[in-house]
Structure formats: structure tokens, C-alpha cells
């Protein structure tokens, strides 16, 4: 019985999320084969082969797989499902799009966003924005699982798995890729950053993110996040949203600035190692989860923080 792990990549590099989901797959137990689907993905397959614990890399290379569209990708995964004990993927936007389609085609229930592996068929997963944790056992023959990457360490390098080509299934041609607008940034990605500074509604504008948040992020080498209120108001792009319905992160350091601490926001960051909150309202709920709270006006505190971090050699 083998596990099929769906690689997360952007067409150029293998994402860290794959190595984290691999850790979860290895805990489920069994040989783990990684599927790299896309167009011109030989280099990505080589990166996957280097992950420790991978027994084989399967490569499906076809033009219609280039953008990870759900319909052709689901058809491909289903064609590779026979005899597997589990199909596993990191809970990224692309896997969340495709894996439930796979599960339904296999007539099984997906187990979404597991935060721990209890046994080969038993998993922990958060519900109600992380305000409760369920332990569930799947009775289905194939476990279809997405993995909350913030809950698992990345599997190390050191593997040398064989790479094998597999046939791409036909394109159902139900949907067509038109284009994408991806944010380009030199900063680390939110889901793999060691430090994150997030801004809320209190930032008041996109310019203020640049003027106040960025200098601190630069000093910390941090990724930048935002609350839903900041994203909805157009102060920050949608892919910065941290929370129940945004990204779930668990960095070493999470700095929440001008964020009240609604449960939907906490759902995305409360497993961070050290939480710092800067808020001018000392009653703000964010202080209930913060290791260090500073009651201050962010427009005064952040420039000072950037300066002090400079002095601290950071």
C-alpha cells in the first residue's frame, strides 16, 4: 500500500509545503510516492526526489496540466489512485481546489486540514475556526487528506528517489486558464516565514503598510500579513490574509499591529511560537493570546521599533 503525495509547485520551484505534507504522509505510514504534475516540470521532479523519505517521483507532463486546473488534475490523480492507501496534499489553495474533486470521484470523504496524524486512519483536525479539535477515523478504503502545513515540520533533504514518467490523462476541457496576477516580492512567503508582521484596519491605507509595516519587516526579514478588514479595505492584497479563511501560519515570531484579535484572525496565527501585539486599546482581545503586548499608537511605535531593531543589529 502506497501513499500518493501531490506536490505543490509554481511551475518553477517545489514549494516548502510539499516537504511539510511529506512529514504527515510519512507518519501515516507506507511508501510515499510524489506526483509532480505540470508542464516542463523536470527540475521540480528532481527537487522532489531529493526529499528524504520519498520512495518514487511520478511526473505527468502536459500542456493542459500547466496551471493546475482542477478538472484535468483531478482526472489524473484518480487515474493513479488504484491500490493506494492514501492521497495526501498540503492544504494550499491549489490542493483545496482539486482534492475534494478527487475524493468525490473516488466516493470517499476528504479529511480536511489535518493538524496531527493519530494513526493510519485516524487524524486530528480543527473545526469552528480552531475553537475545537476533532479526532476522526475514516472508514473509507482510500484516505484523502489535506495537511495543515503549519502543524508539521518540513521533511529534510537527503533522498535520492527514482523519477518515473506517467501518462497524462486526457483534458476534459471544461475550463480554460486565462491569466494570473501574482504578487512578486523578495520577502519570504507567509506560510514558510520565520517571522511575520501583520497589519489590521488601523493601518488606514496601503501607503501606511509601506511606510510603517515594511521597514520593520525589512529589519526582521519578515513576511507581511494582514487582517481581513485590511484586505477588504484594499490596504493589502488578498493573499496576505491570515485567518480562518486566509492563510494559517505558525512562525517563530508573529507581530500583530492594529489588529483587534477576532476569532477568525486568531484561527490563523494562534499557534505561532511568540506573539506580539501592538494596539492602542488595552482591552483588545489580541492581548489575550499575546506573549508580549504593547499598548501604543502604532504610528508612533512602529518607527521607533524599526529604529531600535536597527540598533539591535537586526
Amino acid at each position: 500500500m502506497t501513499i500518493l503525495l501531490i506536490a505543490e509547485h509554481d511551475g518553477t520551484v517545489l514549494k516548502d509545503a510539499t516537504a511539510k505534507a511529506l512529514s504527515a504522509a510519512l507518519r501515516i505510514g507506507g511508501d510515499v510516492e510524489v506526483l509532480v504534475a505540470g508542464h516542463g516540470v523536470a527540475a521540480i521532479a528532481a527537487q522532489a526526489a531529493h526529499l528524504a523519505g520519498v520512495s518514487k517521483v511520478l511526473v505527468a507532463d502536459a500542456a493542459h496540466l500547466a496551471h493546475g486546473l482542477a478538472e484535468p488534475l483531478a482526472a489524473l490523480i484518480v487515474s493513479l489512485a488504484a491500490g493506494r492507501s492514501a492521497i495526501v496534499a498540503p492544504a494550499t489553495a491549489s490542493a483545496k481546489n482539486v482534492l475534494p474533486r478527487v475524493a468525490a470521484l473516488l466516493d470517499v470523504m476528504q479529511i480536511s486540514e489535518i493538524s496531527a496524524v493519530v494513526g493510519p486512519d485516524t487524524f486530528e483536525r480543527p473545526i469552528y475556526a480552531g475553537n475545537a479539535v476533532q479526532v476522526v477515523r475514516s472508514k473509507d478504503p482510500i484516505k484523502v487528506v489535506t495537511v495543515r502545513t503549519a502543524a508539521f515540520p518540513a521533511a529534510p533533504q537527503g533522498g535520492a528517489a527514482a523519477i518515473e514518467n506517467v501518462a497524462a490523462t486526457a483534458d476534459p476541457a471544461l475550463s480554460r486558464f486565462v491569466g494570473e496576477e501574482l504578487s512578486v516580492s523578495d520577502r519570504p512567503e507567509l506560510t514558510s516565514a520565520k517571522a511575520i508582521i501583520s497589519g489590521g484596519r488601523a493601518l488606514q491605507s496601503r501607503e501606511n503598510f509601506t511606510t510603517y509595516i515594511e521597514p520593520v519587516a525589512d529589519k526582521l526579514g519578515a513576511a507581511i500579513g494582514a487582517s481581513r478588514a485590511a484586505v477588504d479595505a484594499g490596504y493589502a492584497p488578498n493573499d496576505w490574509q491570515v485567518g480562518q479563511t486566509g492563510k494559517v501560519v505558525a512562525p517563530e515570531l508573529y507581530l500583530a499591529v492594529g489588529i483587534s484579535g477576532a476569532i477568525q484572525h486568531l484561527a490563523g496565527m494562534k499557534d505561532s511560537k511568540v506573539i506580539v501585539a501592538i494596539n492602542k486599546d488595552e482591552e483588545a482581545p489580541i492581548f489575550q493570546v499575546a506573549d508580549y503586548g504593547l499598548v501604543a499608537d502604532l504610528f508612533v511605535a512602529l518607527p521607533e521599533l524599526a529604529a531600535k531593531l536597527g540598533e539591535a543589529g537586526k
Binding site: 494550499t92 466516493d107 471544461l174 493573499d239 493570546v289 506573549d291 508580549y292 531600535k308 539591535a312
Partner: protein, 249 residues
């Protein structure tokens, strides 16, 4: 074009739920229930398409206990035309919901089905994709913008790095993200009018579906609680604590 919108009755998003001490689940007694917020967005989008003359009829469907009729009434008060209540007691999983919805799609033949991207109780984010699989339709998940263009639907999707644009063949399945629209409040006259709109009742068996869960919930427990730490007096104090005490900078 007819639009089908599945709406789920869930614990209101403002409620801080409590886990039962015996691990048997979440305490739902006397808790405020509402329409899943993403489903309000789905209903709103359907109404906007009707106001633009693209949609001709909006059918809302809810699968759940008798009280899910209230959720349907909310959608009817916002502007949907009629409701379908499929009665099921106890928790229903996305796979069973998708199977029932497949039956509804075959009976109603909508040109478009708009669901929420995620129910805020189970946080599964599966049903729309599963329905797309079972019907063999195209899917546009996490939509922040949609537009009907002849026989196709243009969808802007929220993805991890930003936005992706796709074009789907209709009929298709869409799931809503937060930025698709801001749902309206129902006006008092519309709430009154909604009382007269029809809701047809059925049960899962009428759709040939066994709603028994595939996942066995062994226990439900509280997440580890995080204790509030300390307040620092100044930025200098904060930097020193992060450096010397927490060791994170």
C-alpha cells in the same frame, strides 16, 4: 438561466462555541444560528445576476434539520424565489450533501450553482468541488469576481500568490470567497413577502442518498489554550524582551 444556491445553517460567526466537557462534541444548545456567511455572499451574487437580467430564477436549498427552513427564509427575504428543504437529522458530511445536491441539479437543471467556499462550522471547504465532480461540471472555487459571457463564465479566483482568471463552460459550479460582494440586509417588506414564497420539503432518501457519515468522530476537545503574557512598557522594553527572553530576534 436558473441559479441554484445551497445554504447551510451554522452557528453564528460571532458566537464563541464551547466544547462539551465529555468530549462528545460542541454545545449547540441555545446557540444563535445563522446562514453560513459565505452562503450569504452566494445568495447576494445570484440576486445581482438576476438584477442584471442574467438570471431568471433563484432556487435556494438547505440540507439539515427542520430549522434550516429559517435559513431558507433568510435567503428568500434577501431575494431568492423559492426554497428546497432536504430534512436530515444530525451532522451531514460534504460528500452526502454533494450527492443530494447532484440530485437537485438533475431535477432543477440550473445553469449555475453558487456555493460558499467553506462552512464555518466544519471548515471542510469541500462541497462545491465534490458537486462539480459528481455532475461532471467545471468548477471555479474561491471566486472574487464572476461574469457570465454567453455560454461561459469568467471567474477570478483567490489563490495563494494572488489572483487567477479562468473561463468555465456552463453549466458550472462556483464557490464564493469573501471579496465577491457585500451581502445586503433584507428589508422589512421583503421579509414579509418571503413568508409567502414556497419551500418544498423532502428527505435524503427521496434523492436516493444515504447520509450516514463516513468519518467517525472519536472525540472533540478544546484546543490548547494560550495564556496571555505580559504587557511591556515601551518599544525598548519589547525589543529587549524579544532578544534576551524570547530569543526570537
Amino acid at each position: 438561466m436558473k441559479i441554484l444556491v445551497p445554504v447551510k445553517r451554522v452557528v453564528d460567526y460571532n458566537v464563541k462555541i464551547r466544547v462539551k466537557p465529555d468530549g462528545s462534541g460542541v454545545d449547540l444548545a441555545n446557540v444563535k444560528m445563522s446562514m453560513n456567511p459565505f452562503d450569504e455572499i452566494a445568495v447576494e451574487e445570484a440576486i445581482r445576476l438576476k438584477e442584471k437580467g442574467v438570471a431568471t430564477e433563484i432556487v435556494v436549498v438547505s440540507i439539515g434539520p427542520a430549522q434550516a427552513a429559517e435559513t431558507l427564509r433568510t435567503a428568500l427575504a434577501m431575494g431568492a424565489d423559492r426554497g428546497l428543504l432536504v430534512k436530515v437529522e444530525g451532522a451531514v458530511e460534504p460528500l452526502a450533501v454533494a450527492k443530494i445536491l447532484k440530485g437537485v441539479v438533475e431535477a432543477e437543471k440550473p445553469g449555475l450553482v453558487i456555493l460558499g467556499k467553506q462552512a464555518i462550522d466544519d471548515d471542510c471547504a469541500q462541497t462545491g468541488q465534490m458537486l462539480a465532480a459528481l455532475t461532471g461540471y467545471a468548477q471555479g472555487t474561491f471566486a472574487s469576481k464572476i461574469a457570465v459571457e454567453g455560454e461561459t463564465l469568467a471567474v477570478t479566483r483567490e489563490v495563494d500568490g494572488g489572483l487567477q482568471s479562468v473561463v468555465l463552460t456552463l453549466p458550472a459550479i462556483v464557490t464564493t470567497d469573501l471579496r465577491l460582494n457585500e451581502p445586503r440586509y433584507a428589508s422589512l417588506p421583503n421579509i414579509m413577502k418571503a413568508k409567502k414564497k414556497p419551500i418544498a420539503e423532502s428527505v435524503a432518501a427521496d434523492w436516493g442518498v444515504d447520509p450516514a457519515p463516513r468519518l467517525e468522530v472519536l472525540t472533540t476537545r478544546e484546543p490548547p489554550v494560550r495564556k496571555a503574557g505580559v504587557k511591556v512598557a515601551s518599544v525598548a522594553d519589547l525589543v529587549s524582551k524579544l532578544k534576551n527572553e524570547a530569543g526570537v530576534i
